[in-house]
Symmetry: C2
């Protein structure tokens, strides 16, 4: 029994007309915009550009499996890069501050769609609790990245606060969770910016 690590090897059979990564990116867009439960199978198929046959072959777990993989995709595309930056940059505290400050702008990277995982946590109803747990874990992952940034910040003498890196990370993930909701109820960007600035005083 061989395990094939090389993707490009040609297998027998009709070739796929789609690329899985692209498909996931498109699925992410739909889920982000409509939410898990409101994204219909047809919405997703149309966005991905494949028929039902291909879809249920590729994602035997249906919508749920697709969402799981889409969450992983978001982690891979956003968190990993962020973590790398946190570990390598000169000023991880500055990095985190800029991250939050950029959220307040009209051209925020996350738009007004909120956090992929926070949304899932609030949107997904009871019985699909597996997805919720995954979403929670991914948020905890973001929290650990914040913690890492704070740890490095302290080590580099960039933080005056007496609070522990873990406590600061907890504060920051809560700021993240809150801001993604507050943005939806308040569109005075000046006010939002002041809010972020006030919060960021804890990591001075």
């Amino acid at each position: 029994m061989y395990i094939c690590f090389i993707k490009e090897i040609k297998m027998a059979g009709r070739p796929k007309i789609y690329d899985e990564s692209e498909a996931l990116d498109n699925a992410v867009k739909v889920f982000w915009e409509k939410g898990y439960e409101n994204a219909s199978a047809n919405d997703l198929l149309k966005a991905i550009g494949i028929g039902k046959g291909s879809f249920y072959l590729a994602f035997k777990g249906g919508k749920q499996e697709l969402f799981e993989k889409s969450m992983q995709r978001v982690v891979d595309q956003n968190f990993k890069e962020f973590r790398k930056a946190v570990v390598n940059c000169d000023d991880p505290v500055r990095l985190v501050k800029d991250f939050f400050l950029s959220l307040a702008g009209a051209d925020s990277p996350i738009g007004n769609q909120g956090c992929y995982f926070g949304n899932a946590l609030v949107q997904i109803s009871g019985h699909e609790s597996g997805l919720k747990m995954m979403a929670a874990e991914n948020l905890q992952l973001l929290e650990t990245i914040f913690a890492e940034a704070m740890r490095r910040g302290k080590k580099l003498g960039l933080l005056q606060t007496e609070q522990s890196p873990e406590m600061l990370a907890s504060y920051l993930i809560n700021l993240w969770n809150g801001f993604n909701v507050t943005k939806r109820m308040e569109n005075d960007h000046g006010k939002l910016l002041d809010l972020i600035k006030m919060n960021l005083r804890v990591i001075e």
Copy 2:
């Protein structure tokens, strides 16, 4: 054209078998648990205990109108009392602190269902934007109550901070929004309590 303010006056016609306030309370429960879109008409009918005929007679706008009225019900039942306490109590700052501290406990009044309005803001998909706006307005109402508490707190000399009441209120509503999400990703009550305590240091 007379307007009748007296509820008990007997009108001609078959009497209702349900009470509108009770009906709304039951609807609130369902919406809170399942979310707006996931609460099916049948769920609601069953919870309210009336048939479709009565339902669509009482709420001609269907599910949407029911949700609007249920939001108003939540405001009436929760916010108004809170505002009264803010205006009348000896220590509005203490009141707000206790409000937040109580959220961290295992027996939190809001359970793990989050904020009725924050949920709506995150759960309701694009096209029903009227409901979203209403939800946002209700959150802003809560913010003004916080502001009132902070204003009184300052006037009473209970606050040392230089921050304006409005700024503090903005901070607090964001804490509220965040905590209702963070609670879903973290169930270490000690950690949650520490998080609240740390945040409440801004209103000392």
